[in-house]
């Protein structure tokens, strides 16, 4: 439980003054994921930790950026609550700040939302070293621009998240996992048809020729749907933790990984994905598989590729943007971090 806000603010202000750059580091679990390599001096936030406020009846928790997600989940479990986003723990070192900056979410995302969707507010140190407060602890707050949510997925390029307030949810009463043998192409339609019916579906994934559906909610509803839908049924299936942690054998053994985000119903490209998650809206490929990340249809609003792990991490790892988007990105970066202190080149080589 240490509050290093002042030290962090001083570090940012002096870096801005001296023209130095900073690489923001939490639990150091995602340095080689998602973004490009960043050659700036690391500023560790891992000691800036602790839960500041948790009010189960108000459905929120506030914690410092360096707080491990597992600490947060442990506290929430005492009241039978959880972070609905199911973000990866990566061995327990993943922190609140790093997870939010990377916007990594688990298999329940289409139903429960990403960590982005749970953000109620945060304290942020901008590139001038100013400590700013956006959002709050209440569920609805539309005063000013949603600067809090903007930090999700920005890979730390816009500011130092000092602390964040997230919405918490009750833990579902019961779960069941159904599975069926099915080829990938059939699985896409199957998963999306299931998702279009009003049943307590909470995850739908496919890998190695098999579809997995998770049901979560009131015991009676889960049982009833499991019976109705059939298939092989387990109460506690390890696959969901493995999907969240990217530790399925077919994923873990890959040297490099491409992540395709697309419409859940997008047709399969020529290469077979290793894993489809989120009803098909997130698909994983090994970098040695024959995929073309610049494939045209995907550039036209259907989806995009990210070089998630491995490969050339000095090259762009995130999708190319059109000229207007590029200008807006530059301008937003300039508005929040005019001296370019935070994570230079991490999201894009030019940011």
């Amino acid at each position: 439980m240490t509050d290093l806000t002042q030290e962090l603010q001083t570090a940012v202000a002096s870096a801005a003054r001296d023209g130095q750059a900073i690489y923001l580091q939490g639990g150091n679990t995602k340095r080689n994921l998602l973004g490009r390599e960043c050659n700036a001096t690391a500023l560790s936030l891992s000691n800036h930790r602790g839960i500041i406020d948790y009010q189960p009846a108000e459905l929120f928790i506030t914690a410092r950026a360096g707080t491990p997600l597992t600490d947060i989940e442990q506290t929430l479990a005492e009241n039978n609550q959880t972070l609905a986003c199911e973000s990866p723990y990566f061995g327990g070192a993943a922190t609140l700040g790093g997870t939010l900056a990377c916007n990594l979410s688990g298999p329940g995302r289409p139903w429960y939302g990403a960590i982005r969707d749970l953000v109620l507010g945060l304290k942020l140190i901008n590139g001038k070293g100013e400590l700013l407060n956006f959002g709050g602890t209440v569920m609805k707050n539309v005063a000013g621009y949603d600067v809090s949510r903007l930090q999700a997925g920005a890979l730390g390029s816009l500011g130092l998240i000092s602390q964040a307030t997230l919405k918490v949810s009750p833990r579902p009463e019961a779960h069941a996992t159904l599975s069926y043998d099915m080829p990938a192409s059939t699985a896409i339609r199957f998963m999306n048809e299931r998702a279009g019916t009003p049943k307590p579906l909470s995850a739908a994934a496919w890998f190695e020729g098999r579809v997995y559906l998770r049901l979560s909610g009131a015991e009676a509803a889960v049982r009833h749907t499991a019976q109705l839908w059939g298939g092989e049924c387990e109460d506690e299936a390890p696959v969901w933790d493995q999907i969240r942690e990217l530790s399925l054998p077919c994923i873990e053994t890959q040297k490099g990984l491409w992540r395709l985000s697309c419409s859940p119903t997008a047709s399969l490209t020529s290469a077979q994905p290793l894993l489809m998650n989120w009803c098909g809206a997130q698909r994983w490929y090994g970098t040695d598989s024959n995929v073309d990340p610049q494939a045209k249809p995907l550039a036209q609003g259907i989806g995009h590729w990210v070089n998630f792990k491995g490969g050339d991490r000095m090259a762009e790892t995130n999708p190319l943007l059109d000229p207007v988007q590029t200008r807006l990105h530059r301008k937003v970066k300039q508005a929040m971090d005019p001296a370019g202190v935070f994570n230079p080149g991490r999201l894009y080589s030019w940011m």
């Binding site: 539309v142 005063a143 009750p170 999306n192 009003p198 009833h224 609003g301």
Partner: protein, 442 residues
Amino acid sequence: MLYRDMPWLVVLPDTVQQVQDTMRLCRQYNLPVVARGAGTGVAAGAMPHPDGVLLVLSKLDKILDIDPLARSAKVQPGVTNLRISEAAESLGLYYGPDPSSQIACTIGGNVAENSGGVHCLKYGLTTHNLLSLLMVTDRGELVRIGNDSLDSPGLDLLALLTGSEGLLGVVVEVTVKLLPSPEIARVVLAGFDTVSAAGDAVAAVIGAGIVPAGLEMMDRLAIEAAEDFAQAGYPRDAAALLLCEVDGTRQEVAEHIGRIESMFKECGASSLRISSDEADRALLWKGRKSCFPAVGRLSPDYYCMDGTIPRGKVSFVLEEIARMSAHYKLRVANVFHAGDGNLHPLILFDGGDPDSIAKAEEFGARILEMSVEVGGSITGEHGVGLEKIRQMPSQFSELELLQFEDIKAAFDPTLSLNPGKGVPILKRCQEYRALPARHTHD
């Protein structure tokens, strides 16, 4: 109508190209532009600019595509909120956010205000239900923000644009997520002798791990007005009323309704009724949904506030409002999205009496400042607009407002889009220099 002005020029485009051309010309001649949908907003967010162009998007009203399998709808900004759900109904789908004005308000306006509704606690705000936008920039360029997948490439500009009150760009196409229509929904109506007992009942439901689809509270004056108007069978003798809706599968709803019923009884409900069928459910909601016009019949005018507060502070805040009501000698009806802490006090006043207007404005400002003091916000779903811009410094420090201003300038360097609304301009515009002192809330 406290806020009104005549625009210099009205433009009614019926193509996206015309929107782009308008923006290009406005930029060339340095004209202010105010984008407007159905004009149902209640914070004067789309009030015309006397020297500017009013860009009315109501003719862009086509539903472009509904994809039943991917569960999304691509629509133009002038499509009304309700029309999306109506169009998706035969497919067993609907659009989640349902503001009370959903019959008239447009999706473009919903994006601009990040609108909510009575189902936010479970299904989220507009920002949680969007996939992508097509936006025209201040220079007239067309840009797609977000895409058909769940992750955005690069920065999450979709988050920044949603709720930006027309200050950063003009939205000309919206792709929303659709949800499967629940098998069944049922609503429990309960009357309570005190506001605090109703507050305890709200806390009990949340504490029990139930996420209701809607959880609404009304106070005595609101109950009476709604009952006079809708004859829904609301308990006139109650100090507070709760409407708690649960939806989902038949099994889940049956289980939750039973638990809610017993919790409400334990919290001392003086009356209790559960909707028997869809018609009965619609009737129970009719009172709540017509609450604003119903209150409107009690007084020449009413002023609707929109603060959010922590749920646990509702008794305290309503007592304070009652005290202020006596002080200002203005009646107040309170309607509360209790599930998500969004309070709508309706201050009754006489728009023909300047003294009454001044008192109503002061009263409203005090309520918003109090919302911030107890840990909430000056606006939960209606937006800042022009109406609440003077209260922005009670929620944000000067540095925070300056950060907003820099973001504004990133998108609109000439400050032509909806000037004077949403966020006060401190650095680039002298007229907002003199701001009232900030209230501390740390």
